[in-house]
């Protein structure tokens, strides 16, 4: 019978006593009440934008079934994105958003602005509280900050269960205030981008100056407000199936123009003469109808949703999302994912402006409000860990194919690809503990 060595006995005894009396009892217990979900995602477009996003979310359930959710999101974005100008058979030169320095686009390529480097921090909190008679009340807030953007919002929601909790009706409202402070200021909409003839000392690739003021700037910042209303009904159909129907209305007022986006002004031969800053309306009303259902088969679950969105900018869109979770032995699962999205162009979308015609009231060549079809193909694999933690991996392929919404491409532009499709890969790891 060998007794443990002296130092070992003492330290073993200390450890054992800590476990029993818990020198950090209260803290340990508090942490036990929290459930944490974390995720790390990388998004990468071929030759364009790359983004990384990390989320940590904590959920704590209190004795009376109140739930507190806190979430911290960090993301970083780098790379180049289309500035709105069309490709040309010659090299094009653009002024950087800061107004200082220039960058160029090669002949026959979609002009990309490579100044985008952004990081965002977002904090979200939500408190959910059951009230009497089947009512549940929830209130939350959100704060997000980028170097050129700030958003602040609050929401509240009330839900009531009927019919043995088989039917839930809910209504909610959210208010948001967003402020944009673009690099170089807010450019005067629809005015030409001033491109200095000076061969400046700034190099094409390098960082541009944060303090620069774009000569086209009319203000340093602008803002918008959003009011969202949401009404929903959730219905249990049977032991295996439930359905949710939502209607949401959104009213946005204020600055919705993208200060970094421009339009090419083309002559009748399709040659670009100048570039003008885009301009969007300062009000937008959106209606969205959302239907989701889940069905539990013996060893699999199907999750299907459809959304129809329409707004007074003339954008109509259809989204279909399908996930099919196949349960494997030992609580492992694989989940293929399919998503289709189709949108019509905004009324004021146009891929370029024509020289010699009157300027429209609003114009944007941002492909994101143009006509497009997209699809996503993905697969997720999830597995439990030894002591209850969960690990999951997800890989998705995203394809975006902008379409010509009926614009003829004059002269040399006929040869150019102005609706370039985007391919992206999304990879994600999630861990819950």
């Amino acid at each position: 019978m060998q007794l443990k060595q002296s130092t070992q006995l003492k330290s073993l005894l200390t450890t054992a006593t800590c476990a029993l009396l818990g020198s950090t009892t209260t803290q340990a217990n508090e942490l036990e009440n929290w459930q944490f979900d974390t995720a790390l995602m990388v998004y990468s477009e071929v030759d364009r934008v790359s983004a990384a996003e990390a989320i940590i979310a904590g959920e704590r359930t209190y004795d009376n079934d109140q739930v507190l959710n806190l979430k911290l999101t960090l993301d970083a974005l780098t790379g180049a994105s289309a500035n709105g100008a069309v490709a040309q058979p010659h090299v094009q030169t653009f002024t950087r958003p800061s107004g200082k320095g220039q960058y160029q686009a090669d002949a026959n390529t979609t002009p990309l602005d490579d100044t985008f480097k952004d990081t965002r921090v977002q904090l979200t909190g939500q408190w959910t509280q059951p009230l009497s008679d089947g009512y549940t009340w929830s209130v939350g807030g959100n704060f997000s900050k980028e170097f050129d953007y700030m958003s602040l919002s609050g929401n509240t929601n009330i839900a009531k269960d009927f019919n043995k909790k088989n039917t839930t009706v809910s209504a909610g409202i959210a208010l948001a205030f967003d402020q944009i402070k673009p690099k170089g200021g807010i450019p005067d909409p629809l005015t030409p981008m001033i491109i200095s003839d000076l061969i400046s000392g700034y190099d094409d690739e390098g960082e541009d100056d944060d303090d620069g003021i774009n000569p086209s700037s009319i203000a340093s910042s602008d803002n918008k407000t959003t009011v969202d209303l949401l009404f929903g009904v959730t219905q249990v159909i049977n032991r295996r199936m439930l359905v949710q129907m939502n209607y949401s209305f959104s009213q946005v007022d204020g600055y919705m123009t993208d200060p970094y986006k421009i339009l090419s002004v083309l002559d009748i031969n399709g040659i670009s003469q100048e570039y003008r800053y885009e301009k969007r309306p300062d009000s937008r009303q959106k209606h969205a109808f959302y239907l989701q259902t889940k069905y539990h088969f013996e060893h699999s679950i199907i999750d299907a949703s459809y959304r129809f969105m329409t707004d007074d900018w003339g954008i109509n869109s259809h989204t279909v999302d399908l996930r099919y979770r196949i349960m494997l032995a030992g609580d492992h699962y694989i989940e293929p994912h399919l998503r289709f999205y189709k949108q019509a162009a905004a009324d004021f979308y146009q891929p370029f402006l024509n020289q010699g015609t009157a300027l429209p009231e609003f114009a944007s060549a941002d492909y994101r409000i143009g006509e497009m079809d997209t699809y996503t193909l993905g697969i997720k694999y999830g597995m439990p860990m030894k002591s209850g933690q969960k690990l999951a991996f997800r890989v998705e392929y995203y394809n975006q194919a902008p379409k010509n919404a009926g614009f003829t491409q004059p002269g040399v532009l006929a040869e150019q690809q102005i609706y370039e499709s985007i391919d992206a890969i999304i990879a994600q790891v999630s861990y819950s503990f």
Binding site: D63, N64, K164
Partner: protein, 151 residues
């Protein structure tokens, strides 16, 4: 042939009624055996979160008031008994469990939610019930039991 078929149907009817009544019979027998005792009848399932929280407490009150003529009887309503057994491996019960996979007892009691608990006095009458298990109400639940025991 006709005779055989009739026999077959009778057999079928007998077996189905027997298996359907099974869990109810078990409960009836259990409650008859416990006549004269205060019974805390609890409906639970492996998938029900608050049920998990109630188990340590039910073990505790069972131990505490056992000597004074008090028993906890639980009804498991899992469709699949193996899930209930898995739950019991993690969350052992020091009280008896009646399996009601078809929800026959649950139906009889017209449960309003899960878990549901009933207090039955020494005469076998249900005197109170509550739905859900809320940590903060433990003292209230216990008070009701204590009162009934002392009656």
């Amino acid at each position: 042939m006709v005779y055989l078929r009739a026999l077959f149907i009778t057999m079928l009817l007998l077996t189905t009624t027997f298996s359907m009544a099974n869990s109810l019979d078990q409960l009836e027998k259990k409650l008859a055996d416990l006549k004269g005792q205060v019974v805390y009848l609890d409906f639970w399932a492996s998938w029900c979160g608050p049920c998990r929280k109630s188990f340590p407490w039910m073990n505790e009150i069972q131990a505490k008031y056992k000597d004074q003529g008090f028993t906890v009887v639980s009804i498991n309503v899992d469709h699949d008994k193996t899930l209930a057994d898995k739950f019991l491996q993690e969350m052992p019960a020091n009280f008896s469990v009646i399996y009601d996979p078809k929800g026959k007892i649950a139906q009889q009691f017209k449960l309003k939610g899960m878990p549901s608990s009933y207090l039955i006095d020494r005469d076998g009458e249900i005197v109170s019930a509550h739905v859900g298990f809320i940590e903060k109400k433990k003292a209230i639940y216990e008070q009701a039991i204590k009162q009934l025991i002392q009656q």
